[in-house]
Symmetry: C2
Subunit: 109 residues, 2 copies
DNA sequence: CTTTCATTTCAATGTTTCTTGAAATATTGG
DNA sequence: CCAATATTTCAAGAAACATTGAAATGAAAG
């Protein structure tokens, strides 16, 4: 992960509507959601949503697959892991106790 | 963590210079770094750096303490952990295998 | 093959965010 | 107290980003 890549991913997430979209996709899991249902869920105009989804995809955080006349969006959790790893790189140089807060990062599973 | 808070933290990180600053502070550990040395490290004009540090601090990602005529900046790793936890909330509703990528998040320690 | 539905593209506008340099503040050392 | 150092504040212009509505694309059902 390079600095510009990481910044692009953070920029993509750094927007309230896109954050909502992203979290809805996380909750939807690998099956993902079609754009239309996302538009309802986050209450964003379709054209606006489309732009937001393009930003997320361009940053490498989401994937799309066509399905009938829909397009189904889902998140790339490995991209998220890569981003977070980059953020806290070198967090504890020989002092594990320093990054103890980060061991709580693991999600509810 | 609320959505606006999370978005503010992501916005704060979503800038190449601020990302450099942040990572330099992560690497510096709890001791932190004075603004002056950060300015050299990331090659940003002092006034500009000051604005960036204010953004990070306002988002709750960094802390400052005065030390002589310096001001020493450091990161708040718990804030980072909170942000990441928020991002991947509900990632695996009963299907632990779904969020396997996230178990690699843990840093080098 | 025509209509309908889902989504994207485009162009214009408005809003936020960055950057810069100069001036202000605050702290120490002489 | 005065000078020097470290950092922040301020105001202005420049740049990037978000939003809107209308029009275009593309896929599928009748």
């Amino acid at each position: 992960m390079t600095e510009p890549e990481a910044a692009a991913r953070l920029s993509a997430l750094a927007h309230e509507a896109r954050l909502k979209i992203f979290r809805a996709l996380v909750a939807a899991g690998p099956e993902g959601l079609p754009a239309g249902r996302l538009a309802e869920a986050v209450e964003v105009a379709p054209s606006n949503l489309s732009a937001h989804l393009a930003v997320l995809a361009h940053a490498g955080l989401t994937r799309v697959r066509p399905e009938g006349r829909h397009r189904i969006w889902s998140v790339d959790l490995e991209a998220v892991a890569g981003l977070v790893g980059f953020l806290v790189d070198d967090c504890c140089q020989g002092r594990p106790e320093v990054c103890a807060p980060l061991t709580a990062i693991r999600p509810s599973c």
